[in-house]
């Protein structure tokens, strides 16, 4: 074993090093050190747990002498007590003394879990080198984080998806612009043409005022009027064409972006959806992509056009009159500074408005699909008042931002107009004083028109940072999805020829958010063809065991093996296709019955679908539907009973022909008669396949050749029905309660029938 000792999670202070060294003999080295962040009294500060071959040492300022040490051989039990926002390493010594040895936040919780296990195993006489392999693996996993952003990497040394792409944010967006290059270049060419034409009218005005009108030259007037007409036709005609082409390219950009975000959203792991509301995901796909599209068009089109316009106007103005040009430039610094302040003020509002709108959307996505529950509990008023409360929050923020978005630009425009007044005043005096020799009336009028045109691009560039801020905030949220780590190795990994269905859980530990262990030290072997019933009270961890097997969550400790292979090394798509999963509440799509059954195998032959429906006891009720297999289901399967939906979901699993079957309380929500039909279907389906059934009804478990009982994330009983009944443990008690409630249920059903 080539591990560089001692392993540690961060640098250790010199004083702590000395304190530890004082507890050691020369031949006894420290194997690993955990640098925590809490003192025993719960204050932030350095505290250390250092573990050697024969003892562990605690360094904390509140300990007597700053140090405490315990021999592994004196330890009877060591465990981590997880509390709220902090945790403790509690040790029970063989002399009966109990010690709260080390206190820490969740930042080092997984390391302390490992340390507790190490100390306990060494006290039980287990091999230190073998235990050190687990220790080094835990350290390696913890250190597999991106040094830039701290995200957990797929493995040590892997490139961080987020940082890699964030630094190339423009490249990410350019990817969507590239396919539209031709169209955008045409638009740009047209824009430059219209811009050049737009510079003409003020010049024509000067000619009219200075030359044509005073000389009463009607012929020239007609020519100039037609020239003006031509200029406007070109300007607005081409403008309309350009607008149309821009819309086409913009639509394509936003459609591509939305497709990508939605595609990525499909492949995001469950933990993303555990933390992100549906409303916020919808907002990103619907709203933020639109904001980004606007920004992309702005930077590829308007920036060039406005720059061209700005340079053109300044050149013309300089040629016309240097003094007046300098005067008209006077408000520019003010505009730029104001825009900077504006950008700074408005940026938080964009985020805030989005947050509030997301909250409103979340209520919509929550209450509209649950409208039956709302109505049945007469909750309409409450739903409306909750919506109004959130909507009011949104309104307040939006109104507050409206102040800034309107007052600032108006103040700036006012300043600019003051600049124009200044030019009228200075220029007007020049025209009057010199009788038009230094400055003609036409030139003044033409100049003032150019000045007002000049502030268009100035404003544009000044507020570009504002639209950049809005786009940045949208990009951040869109990239949150686009750059989120997808489910690992979706199209990588092995594709074994066949999945036989031997399942093994090896030392599996799991927690959703480090605050509470949901699965603890699970070791379990299921042989091919085994039918295993999983029982336990609600919240015991049954479904989580299944969720880990289905790889909905990959961040567990330990290993899950299928036919001896770590499931993380198997291609995820292939792997999931070999598992049939029937949930307690079957989810249906708003589609035909046929397509709902064929969801997992869209190209299945029609007869295979019918056959699957037959096996699932669903064919008869489908045949009774006026539209048969073409019956359209409402959202989430509205129109079918719970039992019917369940049979469709079983048919879906049958069609997949999986090697492993998982039933998560498949018959929990149906009556006895339907349960029998479903039970029959299940029995037909499970023949020769490894089957895991989460169930609490004895009737469901009767086919299981093995039963495991899960309690507080641990497997506490494992054996056949008879063995567990003889054990008179938890299973026995569950079955006793079950039998009693079953009798009551049956008699009630009979009563109702009579």
């Amino acid at each position: 074993m080539s591990i560089q000792l001692p392993l540690k999670n961060k640098p250790i202070s010199e004083s702590a090093k000395e304190a530890i060294a004082r507890c050691l003999t020369p031949e006894n080295e420290i194997l690993f050190t955990i640098i925590g962040d809490l003192t025993m009294k719960g204050k932030y500060g350095e505290s250390i747990l250092a573990v050697s071959r024969d003892k562990f040492i605690i360094v904390s300022p509140e300990l007597e002498g700053g140090v405490a040490e315990y021999l592994h051989s004196d330890v009877k039990n060591a465990k981590v007590k997880r509390m709220y926002g902090n945790a403790r390493l509690d040790v029970e010594l063989k002399n009966g003394r109990k010690v709260s040895a080390f206190r820490f936040t969740y930042s080092v919780a997984s390391l302390c879990d490992m340390a507790a296990q190490f100390i306990l195993h060494i006290s039980e006489g287990k091999d230190i080198d073998e235990e050190m392999e687990i220790v080094s693996a835990t350290f390696e996993k913890l250190m597999s984080v991106c040094p830039k952003c701290g995200r957990t990497l797929l493995h040590a040394g892997a490139e961080c998806i987020r940082c890699q792409s964030k630094s190339k944010i423009m490249n990410k967006l350019i990817k969507y612009i590239k396919p539209q290059t031709k169209l955008l270049l045409i638009c740009l060419g047209l824009a430059l043409l219209t811009t050049a034409v737009a510079l003409l009218p003020p010049y024509i005005v000067r000619i009219m005022v200075d030359d044509i009108l005073p000389s009463k030259n009607k012929g020239a007037l007609t020519v100039v009027v037609f020239a003006l007409l031509g200029a406007y036709i070109i300007q607005f005609g081409i403008g309309a064409l350009r607008g149309y082409l821009l819309r086409i390219s913009g639509d394509r950009i936003v459609a591509d972006l939305r497709n990508d975000v939605y595609r990525k959203a499909q492949y995001l792991p469950m933990k993303f959806y555990d933390k992100t509301s549906t409303g916020s995901v919808i907002n990103r796909i619907a709203g933020d992509t639109g904001t980004l599209q606007g920004f992309m068009l702005r930077i590829t089109q308007e920036v060039v056009v406005q720059f061209f316009l700005l340079v053109g106007i300044i050149l013309i103005m300089f040629i016309m009159n240097l003094k007046l040009t300098l005067l008209s430039l006077a408000p520019v610094p003010l505009v730029v500074v104001s825009a900077k302040i504006f950008g700074k003020k408005i940026y938080p509002f964009y985020k805030r408005i989005w947050r509030r709108w997301s909250a409103v959307s979340s209520i919509l996505t929550d209450s509209i699909p649950n409208i039956r529950v709302v109505k049945s509990f007469a909750g309409e008023k409450r739903a409306v008042s909750k919506f109004e409360r959130y909507n009011e929050e949104w309104r307040k923020v939006d109104t507050a931002s409206a102040k800034i978005t309107n007052i600032f630009p108006s103040a700036v425009s006012f300043t600019v107009m003051c600049g124009t007044i200044l030019i009228w005043s200075v220029g007007g005096n020049m025209v009057i004083d010199t009788g038009g020799a230094a400055l003609s009336l036409g030139l003044l009028m033409s100049f003032i028109t150019y000045t007002s045109m000049f502030y268009g691009p100035v404003n544009f560039f000044a507020y570009l940072s504002d639209s950049y801020q809005a786009a940045l905030s949208a990009a951040e949220r869109v990239l949150d999805i686009l750059d989120a780590e997808p489910e690992n190795d979706l199209h990588a990994g092995e594709k074994p020829d066949k999945v036989y269905g031997r399942i093994e859980y090896k030392n599996v530990n799991f927690s959703f958010d480090r605050t509470k262990k949901v699965i603890s030290e699970v070791n379990l072997v299921i042989e091919p063809g085994d039918i295993v019933g999983i029982v336990g009270t609600t919240g015991s961890g049954k479904s989580t065991l299944i969720n880990l097997l289905l790889r909905f969550y990959d961040n567990y400790e330990g290993e899950i093996l299928i036919d001896g292979k770590d499931i993380k090394t198997i291609d995820l798509e292939y792997y999931r296709s070999s598992i049939g999963y029937v949930q307690q509440e079957p989810m249906m799509f708003s589609d035909t019955i046929y397509n709902n059954i064929a969801y997992g195998v869209p190209d299945a032959p029609i007869e295979a679908v019918i056959n699957a429906a037959e096996i699932a006891n669903a064919h008869e009720f489908i045949a009774r539907q006026p539209d048969g297999y073409d019956s359209m289901l409402g959202e989430r399967g509205v129109g079918l009973s719970g039992g019917e939906k369940q049979r469709l979901s079983i048919a879906r699993a049958v069609l997949k022909n999986p090697s492993i079957l998982v039933f998560d309380e498949a018959t929990a929500a149906v009556d006895s008669e339907t349960e029998n039909m479903i039970q029959e279907a299940i029995e037909r389906l499970i023949k020769g396949r490894t089957t895991l059934m989460i169930a609490h009804r004895l009737s469901t478990l009767r086919k299981a050749n093995r039963i495991i009982v899960v309690d507080q994330g641990k497997i506490i009983e494992n054996g056949s029905h008879d063995e567990l009944m003889a054990l008179k443990g938890k299973y026995y008690r569950l079955i006793e309660i079950q039998s009693m409630s079953e009798k009551v249920r049956k008699s009630k059903e009979d009563e109702n029938f009579e």
Binding site: K43, Y84, G150, S358
Partner: protein
């Protein structure tokens, strides 16, 4: 079995070990080594404190902590303070944004702490009672009880994210 609610002087609480207590009811019934836990830790209610045995089974509920005799109230409060660590942020010293991850340095009633916030949209929550709840990238929790009591700079830094 009906739920046993404890209030007033109907029980005496004695500190056992760590965050555990022994309970003696006025009728002589005793429970040892119970763990007090808040039923409403986020709402911050000082009421409805459940008392769990080592198996996690509820033995009783303290209806209102403030109604207990002072000694008992102190014992239970100490245990709750040991169990629940939600540092109260008194000052936002620094806030930087790198690659979309916020790094905050804050002063709290537990000392100074620097932590990362991965997702500012889901990890900073503003409640309707005016409190702000924060979760860092390690799942540690923090609370800002009253934003109006923060200094100007802290308010501004917070305001940028809310």
């Amino acid at each position: 079995m009906s739920r046993l609610y404890i209030e007033g002087d109907m029980a005496r609480f004695i500190k056992a070990e760590a965050n555990l207590i022994n309970v003696e009811l006025y009728d002589g019934i005793k429970f040892d080594m119970l763990e007090p836990r808040r039923l409403f830790p986020i709402s911050g209610l000082n009421k409805y404190i459940t008392l769990l045995d080592s198996e996690g089974n509820e033995k009783a509920i303290i209806r209102d902590l403030d109604s207990l005799i002072p000694e008992s109230k102190k014992v239970v409060t100490d245990c709750l303070n040991e169990y629940y660590m939600i540092p109260k942020i008194t000052k936002l010293v620094d806030s930087t944004d790198k690659f979309g991850v916020l790094k905050w340095t804050v002063e709290t009633d537990h000392g100074i702490k620097t932590f990362d916030i991965r997702n500012r949209y889901s990890d900073i929550k503003s409640l309707f009672d005016g409190r702000i709840l924060i979760r860092d990238s390690d799942d540690n929790r923090y609370e800002i009880p009253d934003t109006s009591k923060l200094d100007k700079k802290s308010q501004y830094l917070l305001y940028l994210e809310l």
